[in-house]
Symmetry: C2
Subunit: 293 residues, 2 copies
């Protein structure tokens, strides 16, 4: 499909792209760019990449002759600089297509108008990190959002869609701003809640945590560097999500303060219905149902 796949940042996501691309024959050569010898050594050893460079400027500029896909997998704060650098380094070949895997899209897409860059966000991840956490199946049956604009050719959009589909992902196109607005609610604000729950806990209380608390604080293990970038970049939408959260929280805490059982049970039942009580085989009215700890 591509002659060369260049992955900038061979951690969990970049590494998983490398493994999945190799498994599905997406590119003839997979080139990895990483900041540290160590990461690149692990990526090479694990069969994620064929060739390693410590900066993309060192990659021979043969793009003109071979179709090349560059996927920038750095933290959000470094994506724009890397994409612009790649465009500059590889010149103006039409054989070049560039994308990224960042969790925020609006500012990035606004900053880069080049027709060869289309933003991607594979909604897949893990609180683990680094090339050792890479997984060839990470994108299988997950959703990838593309955020093209009017100056992108159908040919390039189709090419990028094919790429993600070959890695096992479903693909949709969406406006970058709307994407960021939704991700603030489905990912970025939940991350903040996970961090705060973790910080609330006092040392002597830890022994009384169960699988419920562990599940709610799992996200807080994510990389501070990666998440600080995301939270800053999607600042406004996250603060809006926070307001949506507050009104819901006050509805429930008010019901709690006034010991309003009817309202509390209704709020819980509506939430349970959304999570899909059906699939949990819930039998309302039965005794001794899960205490959820």
């Amino acid at each position: 499909m591509f002659s060369r796949l260049i992955i900038i940042g061979v951690g969990l996501l970049g590494g998983s792209i490398g493994l999945a691309a190799r498994k599905n024959g997406v590119a003839r050569t997979i080139i990895g760019v990483g900041r540290t010898e160590k990461t690149l050594a692990i990526a090479s050893r694990n069969g994620i990449i064929d060739v390693a460079y410590q900066s993309f400027e060192a990659i021979p500029n043969l793009v003109g002759e071979f179709p090349t896909l560059v996927v920038v997998c750095t933290p959000v704060g470094e994506i724009t600089r890397n994409v612009l650098g790649v465009i500059q380094h590889f010149g103006h070949s039409e054989q070049l297509l560039i994308t990224d895997v960042g969790s925020t899209k609006e500012n990035l897409v606004r900053a880069i108008s080049d027709f060869r860059f289309i933003g991607s966000h594979p909604i897949a991840g893990s609180e683990r990190s680094g090339p050792d956490a890479a997984d060839a199946e990470l994108f299988r049956d997950r959703l990838t959002v593309l955020t093209p604009t009017q100056h992108h050719s159908q040919h390039n959009i189709h090419l990028l869609r094919q790429f993600w589909e070959m890695l096992g992902s479903r693909v949709i196109e969406m406006d970058a701003a709307r994407h960021d607005e939704i991700l603030a609610v489905t990912s970025h604000f939940p991350h903040i809640l996970s961090v705060i729950l973790t910080r609330m806990l006092q040392a002597d209380e830890q022994q009384l945590t169960g699988t419920g608390f562990a599940g709610m604080t799992r996200l807080a293990a994510g990389s501070p560097e990666v998440w600080c970038d995301i939270l800053l970049d999607n600042n406004d939408h996250i603060l809006n999500a926070f307001r949506r959260f507050e009104s819901q929280l006050h509805e429930l805490t008010n019901a709690l303060q006034s010991k309003d059982a009817k309202t509390i049970e209704r709020l819980l039942r509506e939430a349970q219905g959304r999570v899909g009580s059906g699939e949990w085989g819930m039998e309302s009215g039965e005794w001794g149902v899960g205490s959820g700890e």
Copy 2:
């Protein structure tokens, strides 16, 4: 160990106690009490109980001759009534020991001063429910909190401790009020957050949720009946936990509002440290670490 084990409420927890008790030879006969024919039929079919009754009043009163343990596994709101009823029905035999599995202890322990009742809380559960979700290993390596008071004999406390240990659990003793205060932070308030996150999400946003959001909303699938009781019974401690949460939340949202990267990254890093970055193999400064979606 016991001649008879009577489980009142054969759902997830009661059912798991039955399976674990049988597997570890805790009692000669396991008697199940449930509100509905259906639950009792499933419990009998799955080998959870030997004999089924629709109310404990129907159980022949032979306690005087055989050591009997009664475990009340109903929703919190029904425990006191059931324990008092059991005491009344089985008379004043010293061969009787009663406990429960409720997530709240303070009000229950205050309401029942009988020396034969000692409160238990196995910190184990699931968002699933009903006897079909029962698991003989549910208590394995989990912690069970006993909340005895000065009028309980060391003999009875030791007997109950042995019971939980035979099911695979670790056991500690704790003051009931302190237990409720901690559980408000480690379980009850997190449940509320899970419910609110679920309620925040709009229908058209659902497709952009990943494993992170699923993990944060899993608890919201828990039984509204069970959780309404818990939230009402532990009302005050939960509202205190809410205040602890708010001060933490405002520290982070203020940093977000003022785009204070240093503070945000510090707060995230401290949280990551608590979750135990070590075990995740986090390499701070590496590229392309988990986007966590």
